[in-house]
């Protein structure tokens, strides 16, 4: 993935050559059609049927959609999804920016730390979930091992705590990734801006809020898009950690879809939820693009 904010890309300069190389897009397009669009159309079609995954697929019009929309589980799952999305954004963004700014420094120890910070990203979500589950076990986990009573909470057994644990684990896993994006973003900021500010007498904080943050605008949008849209697809981690429980306290849309489709054998309603998931994701991505301003090519470096 590209890390650089979209500044002054030479896209317009190469305009004359696009005709000759446009065939290069074909492999990606074909793969996208075969593995993205075709299954999506299949899911849309399935959402208008009744199917238990075993017998015949019976077209049933809007039955599945009615069942999904009338079910209070849908608004609940949507609410939980957005709550986890919002909380994890709030938790991850400031920390990622701070870490990113810190890691952008050229000192050698920062490079060493950057490698360490990167480790959580290398672990699979399922393995992480199993590990955290073991650590959080109220009787045999971290609390019991260290003799620290406050760590022996009913972490996964109370709705709010379980939600907090999920936000924490998600952040723990993905902050390194977003820090990396911000590190790249910060390194793109011309040093001259800081030099000028120093001459004008701006302190560290002033420099951070008046130069670093505004310059990171597009990086923030990129990272936020990844966080927000990515959080829609959190499934493995939540499924292994809490399975949507306790009760349905952490049952996000993706878990709800899985439970309906593969545990309750209701493929029609599960497909309807899948379509909703896609629509929500598209809407969010579009919204974030709009927030970034219509004119993506506008320079951030005017006056630099």
């Amino acid at each position: 993935m590209t890390v650089a904010p979209p500044i002054r890309t030479p896209a317009t300069a190469g305009g004359g050559r696009t005709g000759a190389v446009s065939w290069m897009v074909l492999p990606a397009l074909l793969a996208f059609l075969a593995f993205g669009v075709v299954p999506l159309l299949g899911v849309v079609a399935l959402s208008f049927t009744t199917w238990d995954g075993l017998g015949a697929i019976n077209p049933s019009g809007l039955t599945s959609w009615r069942a999904v929309i009338a079910d209070p589980a849908l608004p609940h799952a949507l609410g939980v999804t957005f709550l986890i999305m919002g909380l994890s954004w709030l938790f991850q963004t400031p920390l990622s920016i701070l870490l990113g700014v810190f890691l952008a420094g050229r000192e050698r120890y920062r490079g060493f730390l950057a490698v360490l910070y990167f480790i959580p990203l290398l672990l699979s979500s399922a393995a992480l979930a199993i590990t955290f589950k073991a650590l959080l076990d109220p009787n045999f986990g971290l609390g019991a091992g260290l003799g620290a009573e406050f760590l022996s909470q009913d972490w996964l057994g109370q709705g709010n705590l379980a939600l907090g644990v999920i936000v924490f684990v998600v952040s723990w896993q993905f902050i390194p990734f977003h820090s990396l994006i911000y590190q790249g973003g910060v390194r793109q900021i011309p040093v001259t801006l800081y030099e000028a500010a120093q001459i004008d007498g701006a302190g560290r904080w002033r420099q951070f809020f008046s130069i670093t943050l505004p310059q990171l605008k597009y990086t923030i949008i990129t990272s936020s898009t990844l966080m927000v849209v990515g959080s829609l697809t959190f499934f493995d981690l939540i499924f292994v950690l809490t399975a949507g429980g306790p009760g349905d306290a952490t049952r996000v849309l993706a878990v709800e879809m899985y439970a309906r489709g593969f545990q309750a054998n209701l493929m029609g309603p599960a497909s309807a939820i899948a379509v909703i998931l896609v629509l929500v994701g598209l809407a969010l991505a579009l919204l974030l693009r709009r927030l970034g301003g219509r004119d993506q090519s506008a320079s951030q470096l005017e006056g630099a």
Partner: protein
Amino acid sequence: MDLSRRTFLNLGVGTAAGAALAACGSSGPGTSSGGGAKGAAASFWFLTGQPGEGIRAKAVADFNAANPDNKITEQRFQNDAFKTKIKAAIGAGQAPTLIWGWGGGGLKSYVEAGAVEDLTSWFGENAAIKDKLFPSSFPAATINDKIYALPCETVQPIVLYWNKKIFDQAGAKPPESWADIMNLVGVFNGKGIAPFSLGGQSRWTNMMWLEFLFDRIGGPEVFNAIFAGEKDAWNHPASIDALTKVQDLVKAKGFIKGFSSITADSNADQALLYKGRAAMMLHGGWTYGGMKNDGGDFVKKGELGWMNFPPVDGGKGDPSDTVGNPGQYISISSKATAEQKESAKKFLATGKFSDNEIKGWIDSGAVPIVKGTESQLAASPDAEFLKFVYDLSSKAKFFGQSWDQALSPGASEVLLTNIAKLFQLSVTPQQFATNMNAVLGK
């Protein structure tokens, strides 16, 4: 623990999609009508994991050696992959000839899809086989008065375990009634020991409490009405009473602190019992083997006590009733060729329940669903426990199948979610009943 189909109900079946895709790719023999050669091989999928894997594989090998014309080809699957894979294979018309499973609601969905053979007449011709199996194993194989599967392998009732050492220290006696249970809760809490261990995150663990309470208070007919989908069946007074009693137990701190964070697949609930952190545990018969393996000297030194769930004062249920897994089940795919079905039937008639296989199950510490194994059980190092399980299973007036297996997959998913909420005290018994009434018969 492959004997418990529980494990994979709860394990993250994150591989579901992958398994489904894989199933589409494999060329199962189901629809291949070609060949016609004498003795077309019947295929058999079963679970990996010892000791069951070895016993199943040996049964196939022995049968193949004795029947060169009716061979069985085997394919082995890991627990969690099996359920999605078999479902996808049946849905795609590529099922193996012999379909292994847990009976109940899952089998019913196969029957409704027309995927499995009616074996009623086969049992008519092979009455000797039917007669030697526990009668309690047949209801879960029977749908609309027709038998669609051969019960096989082992019986796994739910047992109330207790830690004898902890009971001695507290000067307490095992409970003989529900009132005793509530008294013991006070006794053990006073000593700083959790009365009951529970892996509540797994949800079906909580369900076992309801299964017993429903039976003890109202008898089997209460759940039978639910199973039959009778209107508002969950509103039965016995049902509301049982739901209230279980919440009373939660409120009295009957279960270990943080039980909703504990899963059964990590066996932490068993560890709490054998480490003396909890005094009692209601759990499947398969945990005996688990505690024997993991609990050090705990089982060997005779510190593990076991009993059937006690009666509830004034309850209508027979105290000999039990619940759990009455057996495992093998059906024959209706999509198989005539030759394959022939081989499969021969396997069911002569390949299963051989002396070797029965001995294998007993050596593994489980009770086969076959009558008349008392003397073999008595020779086992686990004789005492095995005799208890044998007597319990063979003498139970009613052997209730686990609810999540008996109900349709759709209804059991709603059930498990609501049970978790019930134990969290976030729904009242009446709300629980209302939520569940909405999925009756679905």
